[in-house]
Structure formats: C-alpha cells, structure tokens
C-alpha cells in the first residue's frame, strides 16, 4: 500500500515537473505518453514548431484547458475545438493569420491575406466545392512542425518548393482525376531556373514564383509574358513592342513559353534563331515570308559576331600564352562579348535591323581586338627574328674576340 502510494506520488510529481517543462501544458504531458503515432507526434514535433517558439501552446489552436490534467481538459465546455476537418483547415489557420493586428505582434511585416489569396486559387476553389484532395495550408507547411519560410528545412523554403509541389503534382495516380500533366516538376528540374536554385541562388524562380503561393493559379495565355516579365523586364518590354505581340494575341499563342517552353526552360542557344534544323523560328515561319527572312538575317549577324569573337579570343590567347602583353585588347574584347549579349537580347524585337545595329558595333570591337592579337603575334615573330640576328652578331663578335686573344697571346709568347 505504502509502495503504491509512493509510486503514485512520484508519478504525479513527474507529471507536474514535465508540465512545468512544457509551459504548463497538460496536452504535451499526456500526449507524450501516448503510443498511437497520430496522438504522440504532435507532442514530439511541436518543440521545433515556429508557433511554439513564438510562445503559443496547443490550446491556442485547439482550445481546451491546458491546466487541467484530466480528460475534461478536452471538453467542449472548455472551448476545445479538436482537430479540424480538411475543409475547415484554411479557416482554422486564418483565425490568427487573417488577424493583422494579432499577427503584427509577432512580425510587423507579416501579411494577413493568405486566406483571401487561397480562396482565389484553384486549390481554394476546389476545396470550397468539397474536393478534399487539394492542398490546404498544412499540406505545404506541415502540421505541428511548421518552420519559417526562411528555414532551409521548411518544405516552403525556395529550394524545397518544387519537391513540395511534386508531392501531389508528380503523383500520376493522385492527380488522375484532374486531367493535368504530372511531369511539370521533372521538366522544371532540367531548366536553368532549377540549376540556379541548385547552385544556391534562392532568388531563382521555383513553382510559386510564377504560379503564386497561396493564390496558386496557372497563368493564362495572355498573362505569360507578364509572369516572365516580372524578372525578365527588358525581354518583356521588347516583346511588347515587337510584331509578335499582336500576332501571338491574334493566334491565341502564349508569349515567351511558345519558344522557351513553360517548365523545361533550358539555356537558349544561337541555333534557336534562324532557319536551321534547331531553330524555333522555323516552327512558324516558312521560306519566303518576311519573318523567315528576318530570322535568317538575325542568325547570320549573330554567327558573324560569334566568329569574330572566337577568332579574336584565339589570337589574343595565343599571344598571351607566348608572353605578350595583350590585357588592354582583352579588356576591349569584353565589350564585344557584351555586344553579343545585347544582340541576343535584341532578338526579342524580332527585327533584324535592331540586331544588326548591335552586332555591327560588336564586330568592330572584335575586329580591332583581333588585329591587336595578330599584331602581338607578328611582333613576337619579329622579336624572334631580331633575336636570331642579334645572337649571330654576338657569336661573330665572340669568335672575333677569341681569335684576337689567341693572336695577342701568341705574339706575347713569341
């Protein structure tokens, strides 16, 4: 009897101590002792959750009385809300996240429009229609182990977003009912954007950059150029003024993605311009039409500039390898490289004269640099010839001196 009483007192003492440890929450104390994963996990995970770190407790979301150590802590009379149904999750989170005054107590820059955005998204609209397979807050942010967006472990950290979206969007079986492709993430992984992100550039676009995060919606045909243009401003402006703008609108073609694709946006090459086998222009333009001629002219100008740059680069490198000082010419050649970049940008005017204006400038610089490289190589050859002549002269002088010494010494001996 005494032993049982002592054990009970010790258990109560241990519970009390544990409760004190977890911010006096009986929820954590009891759930931590449970065995069923879905009941024990919240208690285990909550420690690293951003809400816990901000000082919130289980009761702040789920209600109930955290001071009550009995089952009555979870009674409706004590405001217990329990686990929300999927359809109720956005409202459940929005109780705080839509209250701007409340949210600003934690972070004055925090937005409070996530729910209103979510309701405009395809996910939000379908959830409202009763489709519980779509993503709600916890599907992307997690439950009970929610981390800040800036935390590299968070599923919504830029580098992790694609795999978070892929969780559903790459699952063909899960997405079967929606009749949309499931290879977007696989395509995206091949893109320059994914490569930049993999290299640690978190400003590189991921799914949410183009589609939005809470208000995730696929951009329509007419708004693709606007989406790309948020980062690629100059390209969007050039496209806007180009003959393609009106033609694409008339034909119902999306802007940028028509040539660059949507998810698999690979590094473009000069071969895309022109009428060759790999050109994107020839997918629409046929021989004889003005666009075909313009594409051909742009490709020729770019190729001419490329060739001039390669030639200058080769000659300057050769001269430099042989020890000639050509750094000024090399610096000047960077302006030709820059002109090539500008010319490639100007391709988006889809006017060959605009491209030629820049390639001509680049050609002039590249030719000048090439001449400097050739001159340096010629100078080197001149030096070597000069060296040869000087060495012969020196050898003749040495031989003459040697003979003179012999003559003097034989006279001295004599």
């Amino acid at each position: 009897m005494k032993t049982t009483l002592a054990t009970l007192l010790m258990l109560i003492g241990a519970l009390g101590a544990a409760a004190a440890d977890s911010g006096n929450s009986s929820c954590i104390t009891c759930h931590a002792l449970l065995e069923e994963p879905k009941l024990v996990n919240p208690a285990k995970l909550f420690d690293s959750d951003i809400h816990h770190q901000a000082g919130l407790t289980c009761a702040d979301c789920h209600g109930g009385d955290p001071n009550d150590e009995s089952m009555s802590a979870m009674s409706r009379t004590k405001g217990f809300r329990g686990v929300p149904k999927k359809a109720r999750i956005p409202d459940f989170c929005a109780r705080c996240h839509s209250d701007i005054a409340y949210m600003h107590r934690f972070n004055p820059k925090m937005r409070a429009d996530q729910l209103s955005q979510y309701l405009t998204s395809v996910h939000g609209k379908r959830l409202k229609q009763g489709d519980t397979k779509v993503a709600a807050c916890v599907d992307c942010h997690g439950i009970h182990n929610i981390l800040a967006v800036s935390d590299t472990r968070a599923p919504v950290y830029p580098a992790n977003v694609a795999s978070t979206c892929a969780h559903c969007h790459a699952d063909a079986a899960y997405m079967k009912d929606y009749q949309i492709p499931t290879d977007q993430v696989a395509q995206y992984q091949k893109s320059v954007h994914a490569q930049m992100l993999a290299q640690g550039d978190v400003s590189a676009p991921t799914c949410t950059t183009c589609h939005g995060n809470h208000g995730a919606t696929p951009p329509g045909v007419s708004s693709v150029a606007n989406v790309c243009g948020t980062c690629h401003v100059v390209f969007a402006q050039l496209f806007e003024k180009s003959p393609h703008q009106a033609a694409f609108a008339r034909m119902g073609l999306p802007g940028c993605v028509q040539c660059h694709s949507n998810h698999e946006i690979v590094k473009p090459s000069d071969e895309w311009v022109g009428v060759g086998a790999n050109s994107v222009c020839s997918t629409c333009h046929a021989s004889g039409d003005p666009g075909y001629r313009s594409a051909q002219a742009m490709a020729q100008d770019l190729a001419r500039l490329n060739l001039a740059i390669v030639r200058a680069d080769t000659n300057l490198d050769t001269a430099e390898r042989k020890g000639m000082e050509v750094s000024s010419a090399k610096v000047e050649l960077t302006n030709a490289h820059e002109a090539r970049v500008k010319a490639r940008v100007n391709v988006h005017t889809f006017r060959d004269e605009e491209v030629r204006k820049i390639t001509d400038q680049g050609l002039e610089i590249a030719t000048r640099s090439d001449q400097a490289g050739v001159a340096a190589i010629e100078e080197l050859n001149f030096r070597r010839k000069g060296l040869g002549i000087s060495l012969i002269t020196i050898l003749v002088a040495i031989a003459g001196l040697y003979l003179k010494i012999r003559q003097i010494e034989s006279r001295q001996k004599g």
């Binding site: 750094s327 000024s328 060495l391 020196i394 050898l395 003179k404 003097i408």
Partner: protein, 361 residues
C-alpha cells in the same frame, strides 16, 4: 690609329696624368691557375649592374610612381613604346642574373678564401654591395604595382615589422604608414632610384679601389704550391688578355638576356588591388625563397619566443657571422685552409639551395 691614340693620351696626360692610368693598366696582371674562371664573376656582376643602370634610366622616361599610374605606365611601355618590352624585360631578367652572378661571386670568394688578410675590407664592401643589390630587388619588385608584387611586399614588410623594439618603426618607415599604399610605392621608388644607387656607387667605388689596390687573391692551395716550387707562378696581363675574355662573357650574357627577353618576356600580371584577397601560392623572388621557406617551417612559438621572430633573429646572426668571417676565420693563413669555415660555407650553400627548391615544390 696608334699615333692618334698616343696624341690623345698625351693630351689627357698633360691635364690629369692619364699616362699613369695607362701605365697601371699595362702592368696590372691577373694570376692564372685552375680556379681562374671564378675571377670573371665579379666583372660579370658589374656588367649586369651597368645594364641595370642603363635600362633603369630608360624605364624612368616613362615610369610614373603613383598607384594610379604605375601599372598603366609599365603596361604602356611594354605595349606601345618601341622596344619598351625589350628594355623592361632585360631590366627584370638582368636583375635576376645580376643577383645570381653576385651570389656565385660571393661563394667563389668564400670557398677560395679570398677574404683573408689583407682583403677583409674588400669582403665587407662586397657583402654590403650584395645587401644593397637585394634591396634593389626588393624595392624594384613593387614598382610595377601588380598583384603579386603588392602582396609579396606586404608579407616582406610584415617580416621587418616583427623585429623587436624597432619593428613597428621599421614597418612604418618602409611602408610610409600602417599599410602598403601609394606612400609605400613612392618610398620604394625613392629607395630604388636614389638611395640605393647612391649607396651602390659609393660601395662599388670602394670595392673596385680595394680590388685594384690589393690585386687578385690567389687561393691558399695554389699559393702554397707556388711557394714550395711545385707550380710556377703564372699570370696574364689584365689589359687586353683578361679584359677581352671578360668582354666575351659580357657578350654571352647580353645574348642570354636578349634570348630570355624575346622568348620569355617578363610578365606584368594584373594591377594591384588592396581590397582583393591575396592570390594563392604567393611567394617572394627566388633569392628570398630560402628565408621564406624557413619561416614557414618554424612553429608559431618556440618555447616562449615567436617563431617568425626567432627565424629573423637567426638570419640576422647568420648574416653578421658571414660578414665577419675574415675576422672569425683567424687560423687561416699562408697556404692553410680551416675546414670548419669551408664546411660552414658548404652548409650555407646547401641550405639555400635545398630550402629554395622546397619552396618551389
């Protein structure tokens, strides 16, 4: 020709007794023995020094000693000025060959014991000349104001800064401030074209005067063999026999310099940037490598003494011992060679070669 020569000489003789110079030259002789080859290295060092003076003057026509202009002025010289590349390359190559020739000259004098009485002052003036030449190398290295020179100077002056008591003062004196800046460049330029040439001219005059006054030293072994009658005392007139042979060597050096300048033009590198990080594998010129490598091997602390400080102290003591060798090697005398000092020389030479090679690895 001979008549014209005699008349010209007579004209000068009337004015400052030039005939005595001719007389001196006619009677000056050089000993001939199996080590005579080493006599040529002094003349070779002098010839390369003259090349340095001449090419240095030509470089001065275009060089501008400010951090904004120094690199560009050298770049302009080697790309735009006719034969500017040749002058600059010869100046750089000749500097290295001169230091090499000076080292060969010093070690040959050391091993042939030419420092022994009465040539102690010749040895000391020669050693001081070598230090001046190293100073030329150190100060000249910074002048093109390129990245490598900038950081090598930073490291080099830092070493001077670790000398006890006067280190801080020495560092500020060398740099013209706490850091290597334009003030350092101006200062090094001043050392390179005014202070060191003045010192070198003075020391060279003393050195040459002593050489002429005391004549060439004959190695102790040869001296003893002659005294014991085992070998005849042979000599050759300085003028024209020895001088003509000297000129052959100088012509060969000129050819080598031209070849080096044409085939391996001295690199200019990139302009110094004080805010850039030091390039990887930075190291000083080859003639400082053995010291650099020693300091690298020394631990940060040896007992309670700073490792770098200990290294610098060690080299300073070694240099002092080396300069004072004529006074320390007291047992050397007529025909006798002290083995200890020969061993010391072999050790010093071996140490310098091995440590330099290790640094180049």
């Amino acid at each position: 020709m001979s008549r014209l020569y005699r008349r010209t000489l007579a004209w000068f003789d009337e004015r400052f007794g030039a005939g005595s110079v001719e007389e001196f030259l006619r009677h000056k002789t050089i000993p001939v023995h199996r080590h005579s080859l080493w006599y040529y290295f002094g003349g070779m060092t002098l010839f390369l020094f003259i090349i340095q003076v001449l090419t240095g003057i030509l470089l001065l026509l275009y060089y501008r000693p400010t951090p904004n202009d120094a690199f560009e002025s050298v770049q302009y010289m080697v790309t735009q000025v006719r034969f500017g590349w040749l002058i600059r390359s010869i100046h750089s190559w000749s500097a290295n060959l001169m230091i090499f020739a000076a080292f060969v000259h010093m070690f040959s004098v050391y091993f042939l014991k030419a420092y022994r009485k009465p040539r102690e002052l010749t040895w000391i003036s020669g050693m001081l000349l070598l230090f001046v030449v190293l100073g030329f190398g150190f100060s000249g290295y910074l002048l093109p104001w390129n990245t490598l020179a900038f950081f090598a100077t930073k490291v080099g002056t830092e070493m001077a800064g670790s000398v006890p008591i006067i280190g801080k003062w020495l560092l500020i004196f060398l740099r013209g401030g706490e850091e290597v800046t334009g003030a350092t460049l101006t200062r090094f330029f001043g050392f390179h074209v005014a202070v060191l040439p003045g010192l070198a001219t003075m020391l060279l005059a003393i050195h040459l005067f002593l050489v002429q006054q005391l004549g060439m030293s004959v190695p102790p072994g040869v001296e003893r063999a002659i005294a014991e009658g085992r070998k005849p005392a042979r000599s050759t007139p300085f003028f024209p026999n020895f001088l003509l042979r000297d000129i052959i060597g100088w012509y060969a050096a000129l050819g080598a310099l031209g070849a080096l300048a044409a085939v391996f033009p001295w690199e200019l590198g990139t302009k110094a940037d004080a805010f850039a990080s030091a390039p990887a594998g930075i190291r000083p010129e080859w003639y400082f490598l053995f010291m650099f490598q020693t300091l690298k091997y020394l631990p940060a602390k040896v007992l309670f003494v700073d490792g770098e400080l200990l290294g610098i102290f060690g080299f300073s003591v070694a240099a002092l011992v080396w300069v004072a060798v004529p006074f320390l090697d007291r047992r050397i005398g007529f025909g006798r060679v002290t083995r200890f000092f020969t061993g010391l020389g072999v050790f010093a030479l071996g140490y310098m070669i091995v440590l330099s090679l290790l640094a180049l690895r």
